[in-house]
């Protein structure tokens, strides 16, 4: 055993992220910074973080053309993980842009914030790559613990601490399910590698219970109904950049990890699990959408909407085909743009008083179009995209997902999803109506001047939502080629 025999190349992007995280952390305690320079130092750290994310993204893109490789069988670098990495890095970069100005208003612990954010990114990237249960669990915990802390980062606000505590308690409970499931699978097969589990699983109750427990744990992480109880409070209480990041990153990584577990570790025919996933998806879409109808806070509305979106994405797993996986990946990209964009706009509607709940209430957006036409238009684009209106990215994402479902013989699920999209259009449109049709009054509030970094994030998100919609065909096809190279 020596170091050069290990395939370090396959882990390069993750290593860059970890190194950046350590560098950012150490700056917290090196040297004294005067009061005036604190914000400037926060910006410098944001730049370092962005550079780290960009390098990791560059390395990932360079690896796209390389064949799949593994690191002692613990992780697998293949097209799936490369595209997942890109989604996560994109979400993180947009979150950093959001935090650029947002963070300085309630904390000076910039180093800790960016360092934990990068640790969460590293955890997600490892999670999406892992092909072995212990690696999977440790990386899941890295991302979870970092996110629990980031959720409660706003110390001036009780709601943030409450969100953090709820997320932590329920999240730790869910982690318990995953460990128990992993233990049962190990007891059944004598190995923690997915490939060995697939080969040796007895297919009896022990296998069943093991996979069921893993499924429950992951359903919690992606906020699928009935394991979604923590989501609205955690998403509403967390600082908005954190909400934006975790609503995309955690879902993406956990979905891909769940796919790997079910695909390569499953011994029972996939259809058995497809049924469980289909019911999960049905419940998630419906409950998320119905609950969102009555929300008066935009942030909480987006939280319920993100539950519903998780339901759509699960359809890709239900199908379990190349087409399904391809559609899920495409949807993840679209979702990263439109969801973070929506949260970026919401963060600008929040009040400036840090002692009260950070709430972008619907009333704050009343008549926004006449005050800030560009901001209102951007938010409207994200809402249209989330609702699935052509020619935006969200429309094509849903189209591909439903198509994959029908192709795999899940017609009823596709129909339910279409009905759900119609329901969801109501509350997405309600935001647009409030902004465009109603007259502004004294409750209309926008944070002015709008910070440049937030404008940049919103512009990137708008461009992403538009371009991914217009160029849906070619980008979907290129995802397909990469995914086929996987292992079907």
């Amino acid at each position: 055993m020596n170091l050069s025999s290990l395939n370090w190349n396959s882990l390069l992007p993750e290593l860059v992220i970890v190194a950046t995280s350590l560098i950012v952390l150490i700056t917290a305690v090196v040297g004294k910074v005067s009061r005036v320079d604190r914000i400037a130092r926060g910006h410098a750290l944001a730049v370092v973080t962005l550079i780290g994310l960009l390098i990791a993204a560059g390395l990932t893109i360079m690896q796209l053309s390389q064949p799949a490789s593994d690191f002692m069988g613990m992780v697998q670098s293949d097209a799936l993980s490369h595209y997942l990495n890109l989604v996560i890095l994109l979400a993180a970069a947009l979150a950093v842009l959001l935090a650029w100005d947002y963070l300085g208003r309630f904390t000076y612990s910039f180093s800790e914030f960016y360092s934990l954010l990068l640790l969460a990114v590293a955890g997600m990237m490892f999670l999406g790559k892992s092909t072995e249960l212990i690696t999977l669990f440790v990386s899941l915990e890295i991302l979870s613990i970092s996110l629990y802390i980031l959720t409660g980062f706003n110390r001036h606000q009780l709601a943030s601490a409450e969100a953090s505590l709820k997320y932590f308690l329920l999240g730790a409970f869910a982690s318990g399910f995953i460990v128990y499931g992993a233990a049962l699978l190990y007891g059944d097969t004598g190995s923690t590698w997915f490939s060995d589990i697939a080969a040796n699983a007895s297919g009896g109750f022990l296998t069943l219970a093991g996979f069921a427990l893993l499924l429950v744990g992951f359903a919690f992480k992606i906020a699928a109904v009935p394991f979604h109880m923590w989501t609205p409070d955690a998403y509403q209480g967390a600082p908005t950049p954190v909400t934006a990041f975790m609503s995309v990153g955690t879902k993406a990584a956990a979905l891909v990890a769940l796919f790997r577990v079910l695909q390569s570790a499953v011994s029972a025919p996939y259809e058995t699990w497809a049924w469980a996933l289909a019911i999960l998806s049905l419940l998630t879409m419906t409950v998320g959408n119905v609950a969102a109808l009555r929300q008066t806070s935009i942030k909480r509305l987006l939280a319920y909407s993100s539950i519903a979106q998780a339901g759509y994405m699960l359809i890709g797993l239900v199908a379990g085909t190349v087409l399904g996986l391809q559609a899920m990946l495409f949807y993840l990209f679209a979702y990263a743009f439109m969801n973070i964009g929506a949260f970026a706009c919401a963060s600008l509607l929040e009040s400036d008083d840090w002692s009260e709940l950070q709430d972008a209430s619907m009333a704050n957006a009343r008549g926004l179009f006449s005050r800030q036409p560009l901001l209102a238009t951007a938010l409207a684009i994200f809402m249209f995209s989330l609702a699935g209106i052509p020619p935006l990215a969200g429309f094509f994402g849903k189209l591909y997902l439903f198509d994959a479902a029908i192709d795999a013989g899940w017609l009823w699920l596709a129909l339910v999803a279409v009905i759900n999209s119609v329901i969801s259009a109501y509350y997405y449109m309600r935001v647009v109506v409030v902004m465009f049709m109603e007259a502004p009054d004294e409750s209309t509030r926008v944070r002015l001047p709008i910070p440049d970094s937030a404008i940049l994030a919103i512009v990137i998100a708008v461009l992403g939502a538009l371009l991914l919609g217009i160029l849906a065909g070619p980008s979907f096809a290129s995802l397909g080629q990469a995914v086929v190279a996987w292992r079907f």
């Binding site: 055993m1 005067s34 000076y108 007895s202």
Partner: protein, 168 residues
């Protein structure tokens, strides 16, 4: 002999677990958990996993139970007995679902034992050397990742609690 010992200890562990969940006093709960952990340490030793047995005592029975007791003391003894706000039907549901779960796992284990005796390719020895070789060669990556996990916990605990040096 070994089976008899196991059954006796299992009963103790089970009773301790039930006591931990049902006792109204947080300190009693923590002490019941200590008993449970200690019995588990003996189980590990019986399973030939001596190192894990020792770790169980040092980390779980030692550090974690102490942390629990610390937290109970921090919150304050006067809270003492906790009243549960759960409704009666939640207990019933928990009981039924728990029984189903136990039945499922029990059946699964029974199946595995009846079909083939070599449940899990259990390592010949769970001694320190076997664990070390596995941990530092095969499981190298999770081991290194564990340091990141500990780091996240450390930073989180301190960042939540302490104001930055330069923060007023």
């Amino acid at each position: 002999m070994a089976l008899l010992l196991f059954l006796a200890l299992a009963l103790v562990a089970l009773l301790a677990a039930v006591g931990m969940v049902t006792s109204r006093n947080a300190v009693h709960s923590a002490l019941f958990m200590l008993v449970n952990f200690a019995v588990y340490a003996i189980f590990y030793i019986m399973l030939n996993a001596q190192f894990l047995g020792v770790v169980q005592v040092i980390v779980y029975a030692g550090a974690i139970v102490v942390l629990f007791l610390f937290v109970v003391m921090l919150i304050g003894g006067e809270i003492g007995a906790v009243r549960s706000s759960l409704r009666r039907y939640t207990y019933a549901a928990a009981l039924i679902l728990g029984a189903l779960f136990v039945a499922m796992i029990g059946l699964g284990i029974a199946q595995t034992i009846s079909t083939d005796q070599t449940v899990a390719g259990a390592p010949a020895a769970g001694g320190v050397e076997a664990i070390g070789m596995a941990l530092f060669t095969t499981y190298l990556l999770p081991f290194e990742l564990a340091s990141l996990l500990l780091l996240a916990g450390m930073v989180g605990g301190v960042a939540r609690r302490y104001k930055a040096l330069d923060e007023d």
